[in-house]
Symmetry: D2
Subunit: 329 residues, 4 copies
């Protein structure tokens, strides 16, 4: 059974470690975290030992490194793990800097280790089913892709200040989803709008909280994305593809199917507020797809190149917001 | 009972004339059309007489002129009717030229006659209810407005060639809807994308058939619009407003509530394919609101100024498509 | 244009008279009502004259009699109109007594006049579409039919006391719908449950307000009906047919498609509370089908025989409630 | 960590054993099955050993016995486990014979061991949420409860022949759900309809495949249940409660939220066909609730008494079908 070393025992490290432990196909050998108590606590849950980052990467009984540390450490850790010959599953993004990503992917390529990027939405059963039906031709060619993503509430302003901004931190998932749905055709032009609508503190930190980006491929396919850092009604996650022969859409999932009717109308249940809850099945599927990649040689659904290309779109959107002009790629 | 003279007995002239006849509050006195048979046929249905355009406008027993002729005649006819002291309900647009609209509105203003523009969607019970609940504060301030409009199929290319292009001919309704939902705050910047995806003939005629526009107000409110000239699934008409305290959306209406479940899934009924069918209730309500405007002095839901402003947005979108750059208004 | 004489200017007489006046295919000549003001008021709306019941029936310029008077007068009026050679559209039921219905239908048959019974739900676009798709074989043979009918609130107890009871007054529509959906196969056995849950006054008047009936045909097809006199959420009207190859159902219609999402969930709009509002389109279609019956010879969707058979089922249910036992027909 | 001995390694034994192994709160010690390969295979999956039924029950390192053997062995095995002092989680039903259940429950009571019956639907997140909101008073008093249960296809006729019939084998779950939703008020009268619509072989085996039961409590509350052994559209599982202040319903869950729109309508995804898939979350929750019962002393959501009462309703329905008359309890 393949053994993981996990770097980072925060919220997302927890999600991954538990998914691995419950997979029945792999185990967690070691956990490293800057906060020893966090590492120890998670290690206890998944039956692993704690160790330093360097020791985890070097450990001879570790086959794969899962990187769930702060963003600014990702590229260095990927390179170290690559040099140590480990398979790598890294949370997005590889880096906030496109050149840094390129350099890092060079190291990975030279080392020949398998690398997969944690764009978990590609593994969501609903979105994955939509993509697969789109690829099967159910609606012909995609022509207009609409991606809606709204978070219940913003992360702390301290986090936002070093996040690289909404496009790189939040919309990055939608850029990746757009590319996933386009199925190989790349974006040629990007125009971005953004504003501060939910919290002036976010503006003072140099970021926006409400945004729209629309983009187009060379053949004319259009992608429209909207984001907000605040939605009173939950973690709003929808995709819709208008194609030449029909429309496919994936709606929000609701906590239960229970509906109440009374003199105020017909009220369906809430949708999840936490991304962990919303994407539980996606995180589980992601681990299995990573194992399929390593064990069966199936192509990773999100490669290092995908990580790079999403980052380039985020970069273009950031530039567009600053200049007010469209950016050609 | 107020009496109408109707100019134009085509599809939309028919819709209006029948709505007037069934209103119980007004009647159709005269119908004029370049095709005498068309005028006669409609006159028969609604109990009116036929006459020339000039005679209809001049008729002493006509209180209001409904203009449903080709677009390039609207401004002239409005001016003639205004000079004759008639109340006017004119189909959109007043003109494809912004300066021509401004000149025309001047004439109307000087003549002091009531003028209402036929943006029928403002009268749709679903959209009107959404707007009214938005105004009532149910979701706080609007932050992201998403408008989806797709037609089952394109009009003849001959029509498209002289239509002013998709933004002026089709998206004009969505520009107006955006302004209706914004409730007074005007758009400051517009960026447009467009392509030819459904029929190369449309491209050869100098137009596009698939388009996205996003826009922003000075305070940061965002509007996202997508259009397609071809939707296999019907006349797709949806609006959604994400606000500071929640979300309001109006979905498509289906022909019936009947649903079929079998080994292929759970299939709801089609949505209407014809805008006449989709907006039946809207056209009826529009006539009543025009009568309320004339008889009770209620402000028209869509004024000449609204017609002008929507045209300016269509103009900006057309410019943006040509230059590839955002247009500030 | 065919001319109607209308007997009864109450709520349902109003609905019918207005539908006739708006049909474009028939007019209302006379209106009779025990309350002269009611007759006069409705006559003013639809452009008719008032007259006594006898005079309306005798009028040589009346082609069809629409009976919308209190139930206990229906059978007598049908017979009088039949003897006067008029076509008849009579609100359900012909009579609360099965033998009286049979005698009345004999008179009609001998007179040879056309008779249609006002089971408006057969003309509802949603239910009619379901029935038509069922007949077309979309789900094979029907096996379990579920009919849900709940009223927002009970009529006055004074009305209930002489209504014949819930099965004859309210569930009669569902008995007819069951027969409509069964398409010719008759019910063989009926068992009824009932209770007083909403208002003890209804119990003191000798009736129930909450009821379930299930029934079976000789071949085994099952029909399940539930009724309540009180639903806080509106006029609940649903049908569902489980068949050998699938399921067809018609859901409630909502006032608008507007949905609100916030921290309390996702709330769809109310459904209509008034049956007039809910069945507006059905009443219009009913008039047209009656005219098709008279003018084109199309079989009436609900005949006198249908009125008789629904009454027999109501009778059986009433007996079952009293005895506690199933009733074989 | 509490250790289970599992009797029966068939489909449902598998479901439970895996749920226990994945619970993180208990383990599977032993598995017994008449087919040694089945026991060995499941034991391999969950890390248990195989043993004879007697040895599992006697094992000193087993705390709880999960009984998933054929129905006719349940009562004997419960008694043996009770005498051995083990906690018991037994699949429904305890026995097809009401007196045998009563005798068995006596033994359990005297032995003082904890017993829970495997009515898994009480643990389904959707149904449990509905029940909990009903108990919280969201719709006032329940007045009409509608339970819909349809299986994609019938079990083998050989199974049906010794199943005790549809009411005891299939509708038993709905009888239990009815009692769960009624919250303590017992059924006073039962009337059953049934027929053979899907497969004449089922009729030849002495059973029915299509059924309706309606029931009433002493205070007048009504329960309506329909069942079919064949639904082309999946494992149809719905409940609805009409109450004095509103309506609560739990709809089917669909495999994904993906919807396709094209010229055939708007098609939502299938619902699960397998009860294992449909009730995955319910089976997991059931194990946790059993552990809460043992470890925290929480009352079991379905007790031996609940098993007895559901069986009495199945008995009454069977009698009603035979006699054609209502059965008072």
């Amino acid at each position: 059974m393949l053994r993981f070393g996990i770097l980072g025992a925060g919220r997302i490290g927890n999600v991954h470690a538990r998914a691995i432990a419950a997979s029945g196909r792999a185990s967690v050998g070691y956990i490293a975290d800057a906060v020893p108590e966090a590492a120890a606590s998670l290690a206890g849950v998944v039956g692993a030992r704690t160790a330093s980052v360097a020791d985890v990467i070097a450990a001879s009984d570790v086959d794969a490194i899962l990187i769930a540390t702060p963003t600014d450490t990702h590229a260095d850790l990927i390179e170290e793990a690559a040099r140590a010959g480990k398979a790598i599953l890294c949370e997005k993004p590889v880096s906030l800097s496109v050149p840094r990503i390129e350099a890092c992917l060079d190291v990975v390529e030279k080392s020949g280790v398998p690398l997969m990027i944690g764009f978990h939405r590609r593994y969501d059963p609903h979105f994955a089913a939509l993509e697969s039906r789109l690829r099967a031709g159910e609606i012909g060619d995609p022509e207009i892709i609409t991606i809606t993503c709204r978070d219940p509430s913003a992360p702390p302003v301290s986090y936002i200040a070093r996040s690289g901004g909404l496009y790189r931190d939040m919309m990055i998932h939608d850029f990746d989803m757009a590319r996933f749905l386009l199925g190989g055709e790349e974006i040629a032009v990007v125009h971005a709008l953004g504003g501060v609508m939910t919290d002036p503190e976010i503006g003072r930190a140099g970021d926006i909280d409400t945004a729209a980006v629309h983009m187009q491929t060379a053949s004319g396919k259009i992608v429209v994305i909207t984001n907000s850092r605040r939605a009173t009604y939950g973690h709003d996650q929808r995709i819709e593809v208008h194609g030449s022969r029909g429309l496919l859409r994936a709606a929000n999932i609701h906590n239960t199917t229970v509906e109440l009717a009374n003199e105020r109308g017909w009220t369906g249940d809430m949708i999840p507020f936490s991304f962990v809850e919303r994407y539980q099945a996606a995180y589980t599927a992601e681990i299995h797809k990573f194992l399929d990649f390593l064990e069966k040689g199936e192509a990773p659904r999100a490669s290092g190149h995908d990580g790079l290309m999403a980052q380039k779109l985020a970069e273009a959107a950031s530039t567009s917001l600053t200049t007010g002009e469209a950016v050609r790629i």
